[in-house]
Amino acid sequence: MSAAAWPAMAPGATNSASNSLTVSRSGTPTPPSEAELIDGCLLGRQLAQKQLYERYSARMMAVCLRYAQTTFEAEDILQEGFLTVFRTLASFRRECPLEFWIRRIMINAALRQHRRNAPLVAVSDGDYPETLASEEFTFSNYAYSELLNVVQELAPRYRLVFNLYAIEGYTHKEIGEMLEISEGTSKSQYSRARVVLQTKLARLQPPVK
């Protein structure tokens, strides 16, 4: 994975105070560390598994939503991804943040889901121009839900390529290997996805000149 993806993995996943496993000497419950959670999961402790899930599920759900067309599909991906996490946790070498590792697993689960569904889904590009001029967007003019909907409305292959390239930071070569397509195809599909997104955003808000 490219280094561009690393900033997206900024820690800060301790979003739940109810995750406490241990109690400090002062009596204040302290959330278990990442290593403690991993060790607990490796020992098969259900509580540790649940705490690990609660710690990362919301963030990973956001990842899955970008790759899925519906919330249900995203939950399927999330479930499959966490199953893989718990089954293969012993192979985690602790050389990078756990969140990064889980995120990678979620993306792989999304890819598998895409491979399974791809033949059943008809791809329709709709009527869009071939290219659009580059333009700037004012961030505050758009809401998260609007942008998420726009991404989810993309054709599956476009959605994948756009997410992997623009959000996760993979290169077209890496994307080509992951999706078993050529680098040129990846670039082409990204270009088409970009045009579709620009057109849809233009319908949402007039661009700021």
Partner: protein
């Protein structure tokens, strides 16, 4: 960046800003997701424990089997050797009719050559034995009456064995044949050991006969005996030696016949005297001394095996072949159905009936077996979607509406051609061990599968079914070991032992996995067999 102006950026920046920034504050998934996940983890954990338990059970069963085989082998090794085993190892024991034949043969041949010397041989139980080659030499001599031999026999009266040397020497132009090779074994352990005067008398006679230049073929025998023990002596030996010396000195054929008769009589008396002199615990035992003879190279037999058969089949298909009847959930439902099928798949009873032809490979312990087998194997599974494993790709919505697990059953009938190498003793009687390894090619004749309570789901595939999801022809490896029982004096044997089959090819005709990751059938069981005929015959 100027704080008064709102942040702007490219399309990528816009999405990255919003999508990544909002991840931390994303809405967590519904609680049901964790419940489903927890349930799946529990199922996976149970499956893990089940597999571990299965491995432990098999390890325990293998250990018990190994221990029982080892114990049986040890017990068998502790049993006294059977007569046939003594023959197989080259030991020969006393046989009265053979002794008579030996005595009679020189007497019959007496008119032609001048013959002096015969042997009478007696063994006492297994402690007093004679090498088997001695018997062979005796039989050869009986078949060629013009050749006689001189035997020197040294009897060890109490301890280990009797050593015999036979030597024949041609002297001069071949007319005269004198044999005189006697070995007197020096006593090393008996204070009362003595060398009888005959040992010195007979060589003298033989030398004299040779020096006389008699034209008649002449045979001289020299017997040296040493008796160790309590100083038991026989009074017959001096007279025997004198008779022999007289016959030789006289160069008279008729007198030679008399001498032979006298020698036979005296040696028979010697045997009686020795018998009478022995303690009761060493009384002569008459045992059969069978000879080994090669018989026909083919053996034929039948076998029956009962085993636990696991089809271990994975019907996961490529998504392209899944039925689209279930809409967007086709893939997940069919995958779930295939996983459920495998999770609930249980081994069933497998039975095989086989006919075998076995060919001996030389006189070695290896034999080549070829045969035909008819087999019927069963297996069960359970499903909540009212499907049979092979119907994963054809699921319809109506079939997916079942709410509870239903038992499904499978029956596979097949015919196999097998070839094996078998390792076993060809002559050993009683209990012995055997091992075998081989391969078999199986043609699946018929597969019948049904869901309990759903007759419309019943399927039957035959060899002619073009839509059969099963391979029509499979191959597998087989190995086994066990105990063989061959009764003395009979031309049949029984075999009993564990046997294991491992499939080389998957049962699924169109697996999506690569070759090394395919799920293959296997079975473990017990096989009993009956073989008729034996490659080496004991006469």
């Amino acid at each position: 960046m100027n704080p008064s102006t709102p942040p702007k950026g490219s399309l990528e920046d816009l999405f990255r800003h919003h999508l990544l920034e909002s991840e931390a504050a994303a809405v967590p998934p519904r609680p049901q997701v964790w419940e489903q996940l927890d349930n799946s983890l529990l199922l996976a954990q149970n499956e893990h424990y089940r597999r571990r338990l299965r491995v432990h059970r098999r390890a325990i069963a293998a250990s018990l089997l190994l221990a029982s085989l080892a114990g049986g082998g040890w017990w068998h090794s502790q049993q006294p050797q059977s007569p046939s085993l003594a023959t197989a190892t080259g030991q020969a024991t006393y046989r009265p009719d053979l002794a008579v034949a030996r005595r009679a043969a020189p007497a019959v041949a007496a008119p032609a050559p001048m013959l002096a010397g015969t042997t009478a041989r007696t063994s006492y139980s297994t402690l007093l034995t004679t090498p088997a080659i001695d018997q062979t030499a005796t039989l050869r001599a009986a078949a060629q009456p013009t050749v006689a031999y001189a035997a020197t026999e040294a009897g060890n009266g109490g301890r280990s064995s009797t050593s015999t040397r036979a030597a024949t020497r041609h002297l001069g132009s071949g007319q005269m044949l004198a044999a005189s090779q006697g070995r007197m074994h020096a006593a090393s352990d008996g204070a009362g050991a003595w060398a009888h005067p005959v040992a010195t008398t007979v060589p003298t006679s033989a030398s004299r006969v040779a020096g006389a230049g008699s034209p008649t073929p002449l045979y001289a025998a020299q017997t040296a005996e040493r008796t160790a023990g309590a100083g038991q002596q026989s009074d017959f030996l001096p007279s025997t030696a004198e008779l022999v010396a007289t016959a030789m000195g006289g160069n008279d054929v008729s007198s030679t016949g008399l001498a032979v008769q006298a020698l036979s009589t005296s040696q028979a008396s010697l045997a009686g005297a020795q018998t009478a002199a022995l303690p009761a615990s060493l009384s002569p035992v008459e045992v059969v001394m069978p000879a080994v003879e090669m018989t026909r190279p083919w053996q034929f037999g039948l076998s029956y095996a009962a085993s636990a058969y696991q089809p271990n089949i994975d019907f996961t298909k490529a998504p392209t072949v899944y039925s689209a009847a279930l809409g967007s959930n086709s893939v997940s439902i069919t995958n779930m159905a295939a996983a459920e099928y495998r999770n609930n798949l249980r081994a069933g009873l497998g039975q095989r009936l086989g006919g075998w032809a076995t060919r001996r490979l030389g006189s070695s312990r290896w034999r080549l077996r070829a045969g035909l087998e008819l087999a019927q194997n069963t297996a069960t599974s359970a499903t909540s979607v009212s499907f049979l494993g092979e119907q994963v790709a054809d699921l319809s919505y109506a079939q997916a509406m079942q709410a509870h697990l239903q038992k499904t059953s499978y029956r596979y009938r097949s015919v196999s051609a097998a070839a094996e190498m078998r390792y076993a003793s060809p002559i050993k009687t009683g209990f012995s061990l055997y091992g075998r390894v081989g391969a078999l090619f199986t043609s699946l004749l018929n597969v019948h599968s049904e869901v309990e309570g759903t007759p419309e789901a019943t399927r039957t595939y035959t060899l002619l079914s073009t839509d059969s999801p099963y391979r029509h022809l499979t191959a597998s490896l087989r190995g086994g070991a066990g105990i063989q029982y061959r009764p003395v004096g009979h031309q049949w044997s029984l075999n009993l032992g564990p046997v294991a089959d491992f499939g080389i090819l998957s049962l699924n005709a169109d697996p999506t996995q690569d070759f090394w990751h395919q799920q293959r059938p296997y079975s473990f069981g017990l096989e009993a067999g009956l073989e008729l005929g034996r490659p080496l015959k004991l006469q």
